[in-house]
């Protein structure tokens, strides 16, 4: 399977097992050949989208199988007031440690990058543990602005349970994936018929957690890995379940996901956090979608320790409203980046308008880097 010479440079990487890819592709085409209606399935993981876009997997799919990215980018769904809280703390002279992806996400008035340019102390960390070490070396207050789904929240929980110094606390913007799937399933415009669940989040939660969702919504869930072969194999299973009308949970990533998941990680997660309702940027209020630090650890909760007055920030400058950004519709699966007037023009990774263009897991940034639909193999089109 030789890529064409004029393909996007990233796609020179060949599939590890081209024969298997071709076999899975042929199966998908056979399964979709006699469908009365097109099928739409959703994944909820930035890494899935990276792999799908990078390896040009959409170009291998039957035209009547639509694979869309849902709210799978934790940075993108972080609500603007959550960024504002971090900016307010930074402007009070507190050192903010956060992941690099979060640095340039616009707040109502400022991003953290802009706050830093105005004199605030913002540090980029790769791990929650780095934030803890930073607090141990500084004699000023350090707040870890924590973003990420349950996979990452587990690490934050472990840090909070490691007896941090008294100058350390956490501003939690952690989110919990299973509840948002419920909301997406109930959105009238989305019409998602199957979910591809993210393998590494399910490494923590286990796959049985999706059984109640399937029962309630009669929509199948397949847990999948990130390699092109993993994704194609999961799609085959998902289409088979949709065709047969037998919704259930299938684990297509057994090398990392077990029925019960990582019980030790779950123990840490729920010891420190409790699920509460909260707004996911651009999508909706998600009941139980946010992870809040429990009262027994509130000495490490920045929202308890500091007076965070957002009104004062908003009085200083009118919030910049991103009128034309359609990140919310993209994350709900209603629109694609190509539907956005700003995509690739006013909105680029160098000058992002919406959060989806900032994070390496945002749909817009991924499509900007890799393209959404690229034919990488002449046979891909001729076989359809």
């Amino acid at each position: 399977m030789k890529p064409r010479s004029d393909v996007h440079p990233w796609q020179r990487l060949e599939f590890r097992d081209p024969e298997k890819v071709q076999a899975l592709r042929a199966t998908l085409h056979r399964l979709c050949r006699d469908l009365a209606e097109p099928i739409s399935v959703m994944h909820v993981c930035g890494t899935h989208e990276q792999s799908i876009a990078r390896f040009g997997l959409r170009s291998l799919l039957p035209r009547n199988l639509n694979v869309i990215m849902g709210p799978g980018c934790p940075v993108c769904v972080t609500d603007m007031p959550e960024v504002d809280e971090a900016v307010v703390l930074a402007r009070q002279g507190i050192t903010i440690a956060t992941f690099g992806d979060m640095y340039r996400v616009p707040g109502s008035v400022q991003s953290l990058a802009e706050a830093k340019a105005a004199g605030a102390d913002i540090r980029i960390v790769y791990s929650p543990w780095d934030a803890l070490r930073l607090a141990r070396t500084l004699d000023r207050d350090v707040v870890f602005f924590a973003t990420g789904f349950e996979t990452t929240a587990v690490a934050t929980a472990a840090v909070i349970l490691s007896d941090p110094p008294s100058n350390f606390s956490v501003l939690s913007a952690h989110k919990y994936i299973p509840p948002v799937m419920e909301i997406i399933a109930e959105m009238p415009d989305t019409r998602v018929q199957g979910f591809l669940a993210a393998g590494h989040a399910a490494t923590i939660t286990g796959w049985k957690i999706f059984e109640r969702f399937v029962q309630r919504h009669q929509i199948p869930v397949v847990v999948g890995g990130f390699e092109p072969l993993d994704i194609l194999a999961a799609l085959v299973q998902l289409v088979e379940l949709i065709r047969a009308g037998t919704p259930r949970v299938v684990n297509a990533y057994p090398r990392c996901v077990t029925p019960e998941g990582n019980l030790q990680a779950q123990r840490l997660l729920w010891e420190v956090f409790e699920p509460v309702g909260g707004t996911w940027r651009g999508i909706a209020h998600i009941p139980n979608g946010n992870l809040r630090i429990r009262d027994r650890y509130r000495m490490y909760d920045a929202r308890y320790r500091y007076d965070i007055d957002l009104d004062e920030l908003l009085r200083e400058a009118p919030p910049r409203l991103i009128y034309e950004c359609i990140c919310g519709d993209i994350m709900a699966g209603i629109a694609s980046p190509y539907d956005c007037r700003l995509f690739g023009k006013e909105c680029t990774p160098q000058n992002p308008v919406g959060a989806c263009m900032v994070s390496s897991e945002g749909t817009c940034k991924i499509w900007y880097e890799y393209g959404g639909h690229i034919i990488i193999d002449d046979r891909a089109s001729s076989m359809e």
Binding site: P9, W10, L13, R16, C45, G46, T47, Q50, S51, R54, G72, C73, P74, V75, F99, G100, D101, Y126, S127, P128, W129, D130, R133, T147, G148, F149, T151, T152, V154, A155, A158, L161, S162, A198, H200, A201, T203, I204, F226, E227, R255, C256, N262, L263, Q264, A265, L268, S359, S360, E361, K365, I366, E369, Y370
Partner: protein, 96 residues
């Protein structure tokens, strides 16, 4: 952000393991892994924490994909950069 990267455990000292990622050695926290970890095991690591011990028979399959991304892709590639970011997330500090 939900990406885990596999590495080989070289040394274990309490809750910290020295883990080798294709020649790059990093300290990884073990609070979050649910099985005992020994030198020679492979673990899946996310933001500096081990979240799974990979069963021996699955190791080769798991490694192959990441090897492709690390060795064959250009520096600026988005997905490879995230994989390298995960490796960098592990502690570069003093040895365990």
């Amino acid at each position: 952000m939900c990406l885990g990267v596999p590495g080989r455990v070289v040394e274990v000292n309490g809750l910290v393991a020295l883990v080798d990622f294709w020649g790059t050695r990093r300290k990884v926290r073990l609070e979050t892994v649910d099985q005992p970890v020994q030198p020679g095991d492979y673990v899946l690591v996310h933001v500096g924490f081990a979240i799974r011990r990979i069963p021996e028979e699955e190791v080769a399959e798991t490694l192959a994909f990441y090897e492709q991304l690390i060795h064959m892709a250009e520096e600026a590639d988005l997905m490879s950069a995230d994989v390298r970011g995960e490796i960098d997330a592990a502690d570069t500090g003093e040895q365990p």
